[in-house]
């Protein structure tokens, strides 16, 4: 559906996107994940034809963007970051304007606006000026704007930024609903969002792709070391670290003491289950074990590993 090859963008001397390549299949919900300034927005802006790439190529359904920019724009619905809509227009007028610009005519304009109003929950604000509605509603109007012509591909730049938790859940539900039939590309720096809404995640950092895979695969693939949290009660907190470190394959990462309790964060070597050995070591010392829990590798850990280097 979408083919991107060695896409590069320089702003003067600054390299924002550095040779990104990926393919998006029909019906896929792809999340573009990365810290602030990683190049997510720039990538999406090039994809929608708003920015010219410095190098590289973009093709949507065999249309190359250099030759068929308008055709690609017809296939794409785009919600820019922070939904910059015309503040002086009424929501209804704005949607009617977008409908006309997207080639809808006559009674279809009203019909489509009514449909989208139901889908995005806009009925209450239809006749208010955009300047006066809340951020959450603005984002929903932006979503309705992007879906106006029922495009095959939706590109959403940080669709939930600045919303409250309830609104985030609502918008995610809408996106998941759309994702059943359409190809969706969304960018976010919120991991749980990518986890909740995307089939596939591409992590970019400093303009480069550092990971690309199905959400589940990605979680398993990088699952090397395991992290265990332990809380103990003991009279001799000073000896705890040495005792545990003596076990082969265990590394104590963090020790915190307060009121006779010791909190530990330890990592164990990959592909070995050391939990029994650790428990026995604790039992041998007659310490009271208050808490013992092994964390599975979350997307958050992967993200931090990949994006905190350099």
């Amino acid at each position: 559906m979408i083919h991107v090859a060695s896409l590069t963008k320089y702003y003067h001397d600054m390299c924002a996107v550095d040779g990104i390549s990926f393919d998006v299949a029909r019906g896929e919900v792809m999340g573009l994940l990365g810290p602030n300034g990683a190049g997510k927005t720039t990538t999406l802006r090039m994809l929608t034809g708003f920015l010219q790439p410095t190098a590289g190529s973009i093709a949507v359904k065999d249309y190359r963007i250099e030759e068929h920019a308008l055709k690609i724009r017809r296939l794409l619905g785009y919600l820019p970051e922070a939904a910059p809509l015309y503040a002086d227009m009424l929501v209804y007028d704005y949607l009617a304007y977008v409908a006309h610009m997207r080639g809808l005519q006559g009674v279809k304009v009203h019909q489509r606006i009514v449909e989208l109003s139901a889908l995005c929950g806009l009925a209450e604000v239809m006749h208010k000026p955009i300047a006066e509605i809340s951020k959450g509603y603005k984002q929903r109007v932006g979503l309705a704007h992007a879906m106006m012509s029922d495009p095959e591909i939706l590109v959403l730049d940080e669709p939930t930024s600045g919303l409250d938790p309830n609104q985030i859940v609502e918008i995610r539900e809408i996106i998941r609903e759309i994702g059943r039939q359409k190809t969706v590309i969304l960018s976010t720096h919120i991991l749980s969002e990518a986890e909740a809404t995307c089939d596939r995640i591409v992590i970019i950092h400093q303009g480069r792709i550092v990971a690309d895979g199905a959400t589940e695969d990605l979680k398993q693939k990088t699952g090397g070391e395991k992290t265990i949290h332990i809380t103990l009660e003991t009279d001799a907190p000073a000896t705890v670290q040495d005792t545990l470190q003596a076990i082969d394959g265990v590394r104590v990462m963090e020790v915190r003491e307060h009121a006779g309790q010791v909190d530990l964060k330890i990592t164990t070597a990959p592909d070995r289950d050391l939990r029994a050995r650790i428990y026995q070591a604790i039992k041998a010392q007659d310490w009271i074990l208050l808490e013992f829990c092994q964390q599975t590798q979350t997307l958050e850990n992967i993200f931090r590993q990949l994006t905190q280097e350099n």
């Binding site: 724009r73 910059p84 977008v98 080639g103």
Partner: protein, 234 residues
């Protein structure tokens, strides 16, 4: 073509749903009305020559006030990103916005039709120069609107857009009055660039292809420049 029309109609609505249109039109009518009628009875002549003589000067700051927001505001609010990712070309956007500015110029000129009517009641009016004057005013407005649109592309700050456009328009208006400094050979060329002489010809009722060509080329250059600037930016 259709997209151009929708851009045009959105801009026109935006002018008339906000106070901008009414303020600009009032200021324009106040200034022209005052300058025209304060001397009108002294000369005791039933013509509109003074009104038209004043137009280039008044237009060179009123038209930039109309055009300053066209692109600069969109770049400031970011809505430009939405506009250019809709299935429209840059040219359609620029032409649509230019036509809206021209529409505002027309909206300003229509109430001034009361002047020739008033004058006609007082004495016989030669309608030829009046028709020529209005044609000239439209051409001048179009040329200045194109310059204003170009200036509006240069910056996201509307005030800077206004000042840049005013400087260019004032420059073109006053150019022929400062030429006596210069050697004749240079003055001839620059005289052609000044809009005063061209406008004066048309407003006398003399429609010369050179004058038409002048206004059309200034307009074209402004719009083309606007397109180049936007292409360079994004």
């Amino acid at each position: 073509m259709r997209a151009t029309l929708y851009v045009f109609s959105r801009e026109m609505k935006s002018y008339f749903f906000s106070p901008i249109a009414y303020i600009v039109i009032s200021i324009f009518l106040l200034i022209t009305g005052w300058f025209f009628f304060s001397t009108f009875f002294i000369f005791n002549q039933a013509d509109l020559r003074n009104f038209f003589a004043l137009l280039p000067l008044v237009f060179s700051f009123v038209v930039p006030a109309i055009t300053m927001r066209l692109i600069a505001e969109e770049m400031h609010s970011g809505s430009y990103e939405i506009l250019l990712t809709l299935p429209v070309s840059l040219r359609q956007v620029i032409v649509g916005k230019f036509l809206a500015a021209l529409g505002m110029v027309c909206a300003m000129l229509i109430p001034t039709l009361a002047y020739p009517v008033t004058v006609a009641l007082l004495g016989g009016v030669d309608w030829g120069p009046v028709a020529g004057g209005y044609l000239g005013a439209l051409l001048l407005g179009a040329a200045f609107a194109a310059i204003g649109l170009f200036a509006s592309c240069l910056t996201r700050n509307q005030i800077i857009a206004f000042i840049v456009a005013t400087i260019i328009c004032f420059g073109l208006t006053l150019l022929d009055r400062i030429l006596f400094f210069l050697p004749d050979s240079l003055a001839g060329v620059l005289n052609y660039l000044a809009c005063g002489a061209h406008f004066k010809n048309i407003s006398k009722g003399i429609i010369d292809s050179r004058d038409l060509l002048y206004f059309l080329s200034v307009g074209f250059l402004g719009l083309y420049g606007a397109q180049l600037v936007m292409q360079e930016k994004y």
